[in-house]
Amino acid sequence: MDWKCQIESIGVKIPGTRVTTSELMGKFKTPCIKKFGLLTGISERKICSPGEDSFSLATDAAMNCLSHSKYRADELDMIINCSITKYKDGLSHLYEPSFSTLIRNNIGALSAITFDISNACAGMLTGVYIAEKFIRQGIVKTCMIVSGEYISNLCDHAINNITTSLSSEISSLTLGDCGAAAIIERTADKRKGLIISGFTTLSKYSDLCTGRQNRNSPGGKMKTRAKKIHQAAISESVPIVKEALNKCCLSFNDIKWLIPHQTSRSSIIAGANHYLNCFGEKPGQIVITLKDTGNTASTTHFFALHRYLNERRFSEDDNVMLLCFASGLIIGVVIFKMNEIVYRYGSTN
């Protein structure tokens, strides 16, 4: 039997330390960037304090997810860690064992199969793509996808290296830390299952955003040709989004919530306008959550879902589209109908 899957619960961990955009701009020895907050729509971001790292963010998000779930940790069949950064004990990058193995041990999901994936900012949605495959084939019933992104150290590197507003490290200033987790479960209700489509890697653009570990200092660095990657993502994604909508017999008007990858407010709005020109219609609402968290890499979609669930913005049966753009260039679309998860979050007050 071909099973369907749905999102059962979502958990998030936001670190406590707050850095405003004006504080960040104040760190530059010579002011070279103007109106950064206005252009990106980011007024602050949360960053890890000493003692916090990718591992602690991921573990706390997983625990938070379990607290909203009907499943106990020992009922999870699979755990997939999807983060780009794998920092444990500060800025020590862990290669082996896999991050997910240590998360499994920490949360007590000892019977779960574990492995890590890495697919830049598309990590968690790639996790959904893989979880759906394992659930559809009947191999597992429940799968937790989890990610802890400790990427604010890229910002520290950028501050020391940016000298003009044309620097390739400008995008690093949008980054904030976050952990997110979601449990994907098997469902027999085909109406509410996830529709996954259009996961495509357009490797021609793979050099437009690169991130790697520093050789001579802790942490990493990221270089982005922001304008080019934005243009490529928007123009190349149109046929992919169209195909995804056709696959589930929906038009853009039927999508109540579009959650794009959270990079900057101006690029999200420019993308939305391009879609309006191409499709001649627009989704109900485009979700932008980066004002007080910044771009949190692979966790952005689930952070946005978690926030809107807590704010009780979703209604059951709303169509939601998650749209990811990530360096590679990866374009992915996930469409689903909101289920009874909407009643388990937020307060009625």
């Binding site: 020590s92 570990q213 001579n216």
Partner: protein, 302 residues
């Protein structure tokens, strides 16, 4: 319809090259695999990279995307052609078991008819030249292409068994050291392996193997070949002594203390692929082991 191995290729650095770019090495294995299989690169629907130790510890994009770009697999959406196919690629890390986990994902996609061909690539090399302690993994890469078999031949069963009590037997991570050249600090890779690790691996592998045989309804006598992981050092020797099988448990010749890591099972497969023993074996077991400790097994039937 099952999914079978269409081709396997391996790559090692050319003589005299000490520091190797793991991405180039993996792309070389992948390109060779496509050539040997005579497959159009654009027919690859899914590409997964399972190497752990990557060139300069690249975090993004995924190494799989860089390999895809190097070998020219559907680099962009071709809006003008009707039969254009999309390729999706990503990295997967499951330590020594990564190759088999990726094969399981690709196998599912091929079996369901979602894609015609899928490729798993793996490659390890020291991330930064001479910035590591106890790094005993041979620079090596391998690629495997899977295709539909049209019948029940191919992979028929996958299982993973976990032993979380041994998760600290092998830990490898970077740490920042202030003792660099000219007072500059540097990020060092440190591989810490307990002396008991090979023995623990053999215990876990043997336990898992017999559990797997029970679940598949087979006995050891039914198995013609075992293709195991080649690390840690001494693992295959000790496994051979415990399981028997002698020549039918495939071992790769070692060079000093260096072992083949994630590409190890593919090197072993290549050995029996070239001498036709793989095609002539009815039941083959792939047995991979990695830090965690996780043991992944798969049954392959010809």
């Amino acid at each position: 319809m099952g999914a079978q191995i269409k081709m396997v290729s391996v790559a090692q650095p050319r003589l005299g090259f000490h520091h190797v770019n793991s991405i180039r090495l993996s792309a070389r294995a992948a390109g060779q695999c496509l050539d040997d299989a005579s497959i159009d690169p654009c027919d690859i629907g899914l590409l997964i990279n399972t190497g752990i130790y990557r060139y300069r510890n690249t975090g993004e994009p995924a190494i799989a995307a860089l390999i895809q770009e190097t070998i020219g697999v559907n680099r962009t959406t071709a809006k003008d052609t009707d039969n254009h196919k999309n390729t999706f690629s990503f990295d997967l890390n499951n330590c020594g078991c990564g190759l088999l986990t990726a094969i399981e994902i690709v196998e599912g996609s091929v079996r369901s008819g979602e894609i015609d061909y899928g490729m798993v690539v793996t490659g390890d090399a020291e991330p930064f030249y001479r910035l590591s302690n106890e790094f005993t993994f041979n620079p090596a890469a391998a690629a495997i292409i899977l295709a539909g078999s049209g019948n029940s031949n191919g992979f028929s069963m996958f299982r993973t068994y976990s032993y979380p009590e041994y998760s600290e037997e092998l830990v490898s991570s970077t740490f920042y050291s202030n003792e660099g050249w000219r007072g500059k600090g540097r990020n060092m890779l440190n591989v810490m392996q307990k002396a008991s690790y090979p023995d623990v691996c053999v215990d876990c592998a043997v336990k898992s193997l017999f559990k797997f045989l029970d679940e598949s309804g087979k006995t050891l006598d039914d198995i013609d070949l075992i293709i195991p992981s080649q690390s840690p050092l001494g693992f295959t020797d000790k496994l051979k002594k415990r399981v028997g099988m002698n020549g039918n448990l495939i071992e790769i010749k070692k060079t000093g203390n260096m072992v083949f890591h994630t590409a190890g099972p593919a090197f072993a497969l290549k050995k029996v692929w070239d001498d036709n023993r793989f095609r002539n074996s009815k039941n083959v077991i792939f047995l991979t082991i990695g830090a965690g400790i996780n043991v992944s097994l798969a049954l392959y039937q010809n």
